[in-house]
Amino acid sequence: MSARAGAGKAVTMGERPARERVRDFSEVDCGLSAEEAVAEAERCLQCKKPSCIKGCPVEIDIPLFIARIAERDFLGAARIIKEANLLPAVCGRVCPQEVQCEGACILGGKERPVRIGDLERFVADREREQGLVIPPVAEPTGKRVAVVGSGPAGLTAAAELARAGHNVTVFESLHEPGGVLMYGIPSFRLPKDVVQAEIDQLRGMGVEILTNHLAGASIPVADLHAYDAVFIGTGAGLPFFMNIPGEQLNGVYSANEFLTRVNLMHADRFPEYDTPVRHAGRVVVVGGGNVAMDAARVARRLGARVTLVYRRREEDLPARRAEVIRAQQEGVEFELCANPVRILGSHFVTGVECVRMEMCSLDDSGRPEPSPLKGSNFTIDADMVIQAIGQGPNPLLIRKIEGITYGRKGNILVDEEGRSSLEKVFAAGDVATGAATVILAMGGAKKAARAIDRMLREDQRDH
């Protein structure tokens, strides 16, 4: 599996066989060996005008860190990455590299792009094995910043601001920091100790993380305004439901609930852990994005037969291709061009009634518009239904901040640099963009942090 790849040939990360991995929650990808990493690093052309960097929202100096790997200076590579990104082990694993850095790599046109994400992960894992080095922070400025939410956006903003010498307090309503990294993305894609280790660096930099603190309640809005600046990174955690009959039956979950029970509360290890999750023989997952794939693959690992129902065609699945393939390998069945119309059962779910969808004209985004085929109804037996049809910003805090403007979908309206309609209040990540990606949240947060830093420094000069 870890056979050395010939120079100039792309290497693939080792992957545990589906039959084995579907029985546990350990990582699917095995990562690169040192030899593989060096060989892959040697493929990089060290472009004078590296296009890859433009594809990275946090602007990692990609050729430079890759050059260090080629020299076998793995810790040096880690240092370079961490100047731009405090969560490399996370990003290396979950960034949609194919549309980010790797999508922009010049080698993509000819053969295959350099596997930047795998290399980033390799370096980060290497550093972690030896003990993470806490990045240096600037002289204290005496300015206080409140960061709300500890997902990728909040963590990135906190790191940047701490680096610049500001006094940062993070408020997180859950009992663990990390946002979707902890409660959403399953450990077989992103082990939780990896996330925790990267978050611990922040504490080392002097950032205070207050868990169990719901901003707008445990810390009222007026108290937030007392800080020199406020960064809001509360994400898009509000789950949507389909609003079809039967949705209230026992055994119908939002993907958020299902994944939170398993990932954050460890319901897969009930009763060793106290939080239960239904043990279902047959699960129907509704949706076609990354969240749906994760829910389906988790359900498989809990031992269920899983059918994923999506209303468009396979090529329209919004999930990352690699995750779709892995889900298929793991035995998730796909019922495409179908849509649930009713959930069946009396107290508990017994099945889902679906209707076939026909692809007709194109919609605004250029994708085919599905419309139900009359009389094509059919039933799938199920004792659990998981809805993964999207989520929006949680209105809880936003509605309490007087004067902040938000869009129709509840997302805070911000400019290029994360400024909201209120002075000193910034926002980035899913709460501003709607559900997007880890790296876009981090990119936005970094820009906002820079703008906050500039504002605070001007402030300081004025006084």
């Binding site: 169990n212 939002s254 609930e257 009930f270 239960p276 949680n394 209105p395």
Partner: protein, 282 residues
């Protein structure tokens, strides 16, 4: 980590804990709740903020399953791993005129704080507390102090009026004009008792107790039907217009994990026994 300052038993299977949680205590209002997780392996469970004093919050709970049984073994000086809150919308307290606050069983825990708030807003407040028998009755003195009048009822007549809180409520609203009623207790008690005020169209609130996980609106586990619409009890409630609530659905959803809960409690008791009698208590 949140320190338990005081812990004790109030009645049969009903316990109270004063826990130090400044972020909750300083901002909690009547009708709100918190979420606790006892330890690393614990479940997140919601409990009403039943009183506040300085940086301390009081919770009162009935030992029904694994988590509440374990909670009942905590003593002063122990710690609760997580306390999050205050959560949910506060009670809608207005100047209504005459209010009645009805509590059943462990639900009485929520009553004094509401009664006090309603009285502070200028209302005449009548309290009704009911329990299966005298052994299950809690907070009688506190309610007597918080209300202008207090009625006590037990199912078996072992204390106060012989009958249900609903029977007392019926008499109260026959006897005088009542403008607003809170009913807090087990779902079946809220369902039955709120029927009493329906014919007269009296504004009636109930505090719903569906199964929750986060308590902040991100999972949808707590969804309930009110007036034909889906609501998340943790952020849209927990208090709702009683006459619009689908109580049967609430009760159905409360039973989602019946088998798992039973297994978990049995396992807990078994382990407690193996540690020697009262191993978890002493």
């Amino acid at each position: 980590m949140y320190r338990v300052i005081e812990a004790g038993q109030l009645a049969d299977r009903i316990f109270q804990i004063w826990v130090e949680a400044p972020h909750v205590a300083r901002h909690a209002l009547a009708g709100q709740f918190l979420v606790i997780r006892i330890d690393e392996h614990g479940e997140r469970i919601p409990l009403t903020v039943s009183a506040v004093s300085g940086d301390l919050v009081r919770i009162i709970f009935m030992a029904v399953g694994k988590t509440t049984h374990q909670l009942s073994t905590l003593k002063a000086g122990d710690f609760i791993r997580d306390v999050a809150g205050p959560l949910g919308r506060p009670s809608e307290i207005g100047m209504f005129g005459t209010c009645v606050v009805v509590g059943g069983g462990a639900g009485i825990a929520s009553c004094p704080i509401i009664a006090r708030a309603a009285r502070a807003a200028g209302n005449h407040v009548i309290g009704i507390i009911g329990a299966r028998n005298a052994g299950f009755l809690i907070l009688e003195d506190e309610m007597r102090e918080a209300c202008d009048d207090l009625f006590v009822a037990t199912d078996d007549g072992s204390r106060g009026f012989h009958g249900f809180a609903a029977d007392v409520l019926k008499e109260v609203i026959e006897g005088r004009k009542v403008d607003c009623v809170w009913i807090i207790g087990p779902a079946i008690m809220m369902k039955v008792t709120s029927e009493v005020t329906r014919p007269k169209g009296i504004r009636t609130f109930v505090s719903l107790n569906p199964i929750m996980v986060d308590g902040t609106g991100m999972c949808g586990s707590c969804r309930v039907q009110v007036g034909g619409e889906t609501k998340f009890a943790c952020v849209d409630g927990p208090e709702f217009n009683a006459h619009e609530v689908d109580f049967d659905l609430l009760m159905q959803r409360q039973r989602t994990y019946f088998d798992e809960e039973k297994a978990s409690l049995e396992r807990y008791h078994e382990r407690a026994c193996r540690c020697g009698e009262g191993g978890h208590h002493g």
